[in-house]
Subunit: 375 residues, 5 copies
Amino acid sequence: MNHSIKRIRYNPRRKAGNIGDSPGAIIIPEDAVKPLICVFSYNAKELVTNEGKSIKVVLDQFKKCPDHTHWVQIRGLGDAGLIEDIGAILTINPLVLEDITNIHQRPKFDEYDDYLFAVSRMINFTKDYELVNNQFSALVKDNVIITFEETHEEYFEAVKNRLASGKGAIRTAGAGYMCYALTDTILDRYFALLAKLGDQLDTVEDRLYGNVDKSIMFETQQLKRTLIVLRRSCWPERDKINDMLRTENSLINPEVKLFLKDAYDHCIQIMDLIESYKEITSSIMDIYLSMVSNRMNEIMKVLTIISVIFIPLTFIAGVYGMNFSRVDPVTNKVMPDNLPELYNPHGYFYALGGMFVIGIIQVIIFWRKGWFSKL
Amino acid sequence: MNHSIKRIRYNPRRKAGNIGDSPGAIIIPEDAVKPLICVFSYNAKELVTNEGKSIKVVLDQFKKCPDHTHWVQIRGLGDAGLIEDIGAILTINPLVLEDITNIHQRPKFDEYDDYLFAVSRMINFTKDYELVNNQFSALVKDNVIITFEETHEEYFEAVKNRLASGKGAIRTAGAGYMCYALTDTILDRYFALLAKLGDQLDTVEDRLYGNVDKSIMFETQQLKRTLIVLRRSCWPERDKINDMLRTENSLINPEVKLFLKDAYDHCIQIMDLIESYKEITSSIMDIYLSMVSNRMNEIMKVLTIISVIFIPLTFIAGVYGMNFSRVDPVTNKVMPDNLPELYNPHGYFYALGGMFVIGIIQVIIFWRKGWFSKL
Amino acid sequence: MNHSIKRIRYNPRRKAGNIGDSPGAIIIPEDAVKPLICVFSYNAKELVTNEGKSIKVVLDQFKKCPDHTHWVQIRGLGDAGLIEDIGAILTINPLVLEDITNIHQRPKFDEYDDYLFAVSRMINFTKDYELVNNQFSALVKDNVIITFEETHEEYFEAVKNRLASGKGAIRTAGAGYMCYALTDTILDRYFALLAKLGDQLDTVEDRLYGNVDKSIMFETQQLKRTLIVLRRSCWPERDKINDMLRTENSLINPEVKLFLKDAYDHCIQIMDLIESYKEITSSIMDIYLSMVSNRMNEIMKVLTIISVIFIPLTFIAGVYGMNFSRVDPVTNKVMPDNLPELYNPHGYFYALGGMFVIGIIQVIIFWRKGWFSKL
Amino acid sequence: MNHSIKRIRYNPRRKAGNIGDSPGAIIIPEDAVKPLICVFSYNAKELVTNEGKSIKVVLDQFKKCPDHTHWVQIRGLGDAGLIEDIGAILTINPLVLEDITNIHQRPKFDEYDDYLFAVSRMINFTKDYELVNNQFSALVKDNVIITFEETHEEYFEAVKNRLASGKGAIRTAGAGYMCYALTDTILDRYFALLAKLGDQLDTVEDRLYGNVDKSIMFETQQLKRTLIVLRRSCWPERDKINDMLRTENSLINPEVKLFLKDAYDHCIQIMDLIESYKEITSSIMDIYLSMVSNRMNEIMKVLTIISVIFIPLTFIAGVYGMNFSRVDPVTNKVMPDNLPELYNPHGYFYALGGMFVIGIIQVIIFWRKGWFSKL
Amino acid sequence: MNHSIKRIRYNPRRKAGNIGDSPGAIIIPEDAVKPLICVFSYNAKELVTNEGKSIKVVLDQFKKCPDHTHWVQIRGLGDAGLIEDIGAILTINPLVLEDITNIHQRPKFDEYDDYLFAVSRMINFTKDYELVNNQFSALVKDNVIITFEETHEEYFEAVKNRLASGKGAIRTAGAGYMCYALTDTILDRYFALLAKLGDQLDTVEDRLYGNVDKSIMFETQQLKRTLIVLRRSCWPERDKINDMLRTENSLINPEVKLFLKDAYDHCIQIMDLIESYKEITSSIMDIYLSMVSNRMNEIMKVLTIISVIFIPLTFIAGVYGMNFSRVDPVTNKVMPDNLPELYNPHGYFYALGGMFVIGIIQVIIFWRKGWFSKL
């Protein structure tokens, strides 16, 4: 059970804020980390990278490369001021800024007059095989895409490599394509997770055919819940991509839509796998319960066979252990004529033989009834 | 079990009135409390508050501040006259007035020629952790919103605070926005309740992995029903907000719709959580039943092992307890040649040893069959 | 169990007629009762009532009050001629006449060129708590509404009272309103039935927490089936009202539609309650089965504990009951050196003490394993 | 079980032909019977009937009565040439001809340029209560309807009688009406079958309340499968009639559509009944399983009560059967001071009395725990 | 179990490539085989066939027969260069080329400006009865159709035969028709597989009515999963054919659409069969579990009957085996007045008789309770 999934808590972190709070208030989650800012400014020819901890680094880069496409990657939400500054620079609706820090959003795609807002769930396993379900949000406006992640962990290394290598459409297709590329990377991670879950399903099922124990049930239940979490994240992701496909906003141009169609297919494939795996967990539970019940039956059968064979025999032994006897009133001696069998010279062997025969008959009856075959 | 949910009765209060009653009749529920009236008249500059027990306080305020937005909060439905007066002042359809006092409405949004009518369910827990499911209804007309609640309990303190502080759009965005703000506060409460239910699910599940007892089943069932009640209230709430989003009535202006879109997202999130929690209660029940059955199996296994080991041994003891003997016809004495083993000087120890060997063999067989491993 | 629901037979009465019969044939059910005819002719000023057993009474009234609205209530379908006459007077399609007497129609609303036809199910309980599911059909044409019921039982007393009192819109809103008023009364009855079913659910559930017995299962199943029957009747009722709301026929004018919208909401509420109740019956069955299984486990546990404690003790007693002994070949007397314990002066008490200790150790082991706690 | 439903085989006959066969190939099923041809040529005035075994009889009749409506009833599909001839005469697409002989089609309605093609399933029980699921297909073109059935069995006697009597619209409403009339007859048969199934459900349920045995389970499963087969046939029938209602082909004129609307209602009613019956079979299975488990519990309870009462008593008897004794070393006689109770003059009666008291106490304890009440 | 289905592994092969890879990259699966290329160039008059291993053979044929329709069948995906060449020749989007080698696509139909792309799943059983689920993809452009299969295995022999014989529309109806013909052949295979599965269901069910054993459960589960896999492949196939029916691309002309409609019907029939079979597997599992439980009950009943009969008898024997006796203090002899029955001359026979009577009474009681009838 070393590599089995950790139990999922239902309320790891609550929605921040209080009942009836004003909408649009930016409330930083308690355990949020300080933001790291990376700015990637690129066009077909060059890629300029800049890192820092304040908004200044972003503005510098915007000034330096006015005609480049800028991907501002912000990892960590622990700075309300930063988010407000970004909101002010790009003139973003406060409700959108609230959604960025309110980290339990479902995947969605909202279209505003001159910018787009997209949310995804970044599903991953930690090294300890614990499910991580973080929020990823992206603001797309003109040639700028600003993305927000909850932790400092590197998640988009592959995208950065593609950006560095400059192959494919990534350097030329604008901010909308970058939004697609990040979303697709998030979806790719699902496939990796599902492959792991598939392996674990296989392992659990292998154990089913050996010796069943309670851990199979617990693990299957954990797998099932992990699948529920994945489905909850992936289902709205599909709607989101569909919304992106239908938008008429020029940031999502026909070329990007072609790629989005591909991402949409991936999404459907993921849903498909999740549903199949869920059906399989159910069937594993069914088999597990049936195996437990079968095993119980095997045990009960042994009890029954042994009891039923020995109960009559023990009764017979009890009968011949009774002290019935006749005391001769004259001689005051025990006379043999009361339990006549007892005084038969070979009575003991007759009795043992009789018991043996009764036992054998019973075994034959049970054999005929098929009790010795495996259930 | 101190903090577990109270059992839900299915018919706490009936639909008032009799079969075939005329539609539009205002029938006050038997346990309705006398109304408390609060009028909040506000604009960007000032907030005028007025409390009282009769309709006069409302009319006074309307006259005093003709250009303000008025929120008339009526807590308690125990005065049919008051509701009729309001109906007369705002010229409301009698069917709407009936719905206000008929306190088992589903959430809905009805649009009339010059006013709007919205119903929500105010879900809450009492201090004793009992589920309360009261009706909230709102009439919106021009610059007036009149809200009706069943009890005197303060539910919208946060909204009143925002009104007092004057921050955000609340003082300037009109009666439609106030309708949104109240609805959103009601939805916020769901999150708080679901957080509590999530905690309880965690607690129940923790107990699953320890010693299972019947209370787990009862609590899980209560949780499940609470979730059914929440779903029944929240599902039509979603439709209601959707209807509000699609209305072309000027009271719900585009700015309010932007906020309603946010409330709609919250609604979906709540539904999502409810569905997940429901799936989890099912899986807890499955594990519970499986645990009970496993435990039963453990107990039966002990019975079986001990019985099966001792039954043959007891039979052997019974055999050697039989009184077979030969009475010498001459000496009238018991002769040792009938149950020869009994008169073997070491027969007793041989017998004990034989029993011991049989017992050990059985233990080994069961060990091999894996009966000593936990199921 | 005095007041529990009667078992529902699946085929109380068959579809009349034979396979391949010509469509439009009026086939009177075998147990149909002779019709009672009531004619209510009313306008805002007066209400003229007339009763009888033949079509003459209807025609007379039509002549007498040409400008009134007429509600012809026909209770009993046992007269094919009457129905044919009505068909001829109002020029009704034979297929519609067939539907009136073919009493297993689903609720529906059919629109013809110059008349409307509506079917509902009149659900009720008899005094013996048996479910009655009769057909109600209504023909609406100009200022006339003709309704057909299966039995003489008074079902619409409340409507007649409202008609007599003249309050509300009932006397002025025409035949379409009357159709609504009758439908709404039928829906009101559902609420009354559901309140009764809710009470019974509460009672059954109370018994669950006491001593479970088989009757709980049978009653729950009967409740579930009653709910299935109700749902089968109410679901198409919703579609029917929806069809009425969307018709452009002038008989269903906007005022009536406002009221129908209200009836539609009632219908949804009923469906909602039925679905919740169904979920509750399922959960009661789950708890019942779990309780039975728990109880069985309790019983088995007692068996196991007592057996497992006494089985080894009885074995020990058996051992000391064995007749091993040495017969001194010289004196021919039983010598004490074969089962040495037996001839120990305090052997008996040592043995009893040993058994007692073994018993106590077992009790402690079982206590530690939690076998004495309630499952 | 004399009248219970026969088990359904899943693959009674396979799709004829091989993988990748050319579409439109007419492949006669192996067990097809030679066709019987009946031609009914009718108008309002007369009905001319003609029977035979070759296509000539059809052509003759067409020539003889050029202005009549012709119903060509072909029973038996065992003649590929006949079907090709008909295809040639009416210029039918080969794909349609393939569907006529490929006897596992779902009900469907296909519209071609100048003819219509409809498929239904003819569900029936044989005398041995075996489910028969044959294909019925109809070609409608101008004033001709050609129907194909798999067997010689008479299925449409009622339609022929109506044709002979000339009542109703049958003789005047054309080939489209005949298509409706035959479909409606097929639907009528469903009602008859469902009535039988309803009776059997009642019978099975009656037996539930008496002594449960395994046959209940098998019969219920057969009923459920029969219902699955019926649903599979009826569901597409509904779609088919819906397609017929929406066609603009003049063969299905408005008058026929009015009747088809009626058939559509029947279809919905059948679906409704099937779904209800399916729910009932599920609930019968639930009760059956619960009854079996209850019965098992009853048996186990008796075992437990008797075992638990006698186990301690038998132990006591065993204790007093132990051979502890003291042999006086001087007199070599058995002395009474080792198991003192044994030598008490009334010890036996005290022991019996003690056992009796222990037994009674146990009975009282079990009584209090409610073990003697029925589960 | 010789012919039962092999267990399905969940992750036989993974999605090739790494997380975040550039879209459109052609990644050859590790176990891909080297491609075999077959080119079939045909028109109504002739069929020219050419085989080879490089793209040259295709280009040669295109040049040789410019006015023919060309079917290029590529079996084996192990050559990235070949696929890139084909992409270059026909100017195909890289995303499409990626889909060809990424062999876990769902069936789909994508329409591009001047070509079509279709994916199907080729379901089959190996000789060892293992499920094979390979990808089939087809590119259709002008008069060329290029198909890609994963293995060298011959799957479309029937189509090639039809091509050779030249019957039907296959030689004249263009590349779109060929796409249909191949898809239809793939669907035909489903029928063959389902026939096999139906046979196996029958076999499994036969065994249900005999001696149940665990293999029934495992086989049924394997059948269920095979059905899940089939459904996952067939469901999107339906959507794909539907998309093909609605396309306005001239490659899918009305004639082809007529045939596609037929394929669509087949698809629905397959779905229908799969759903029915799934319901049957569930019902087999239900019966299996019920049978196991019944069998267990039978065994327990035997244990109970035998135990309950012998337990009191053994107790009685134990009582008469007690050593109560009175030792005459004077004579030091055992006196008969303590257990008086023991010294009754016929006591033994009375006791045996009493035991016999008690046993018979118990048998009668159990008989009356119906314990001897089969559950």
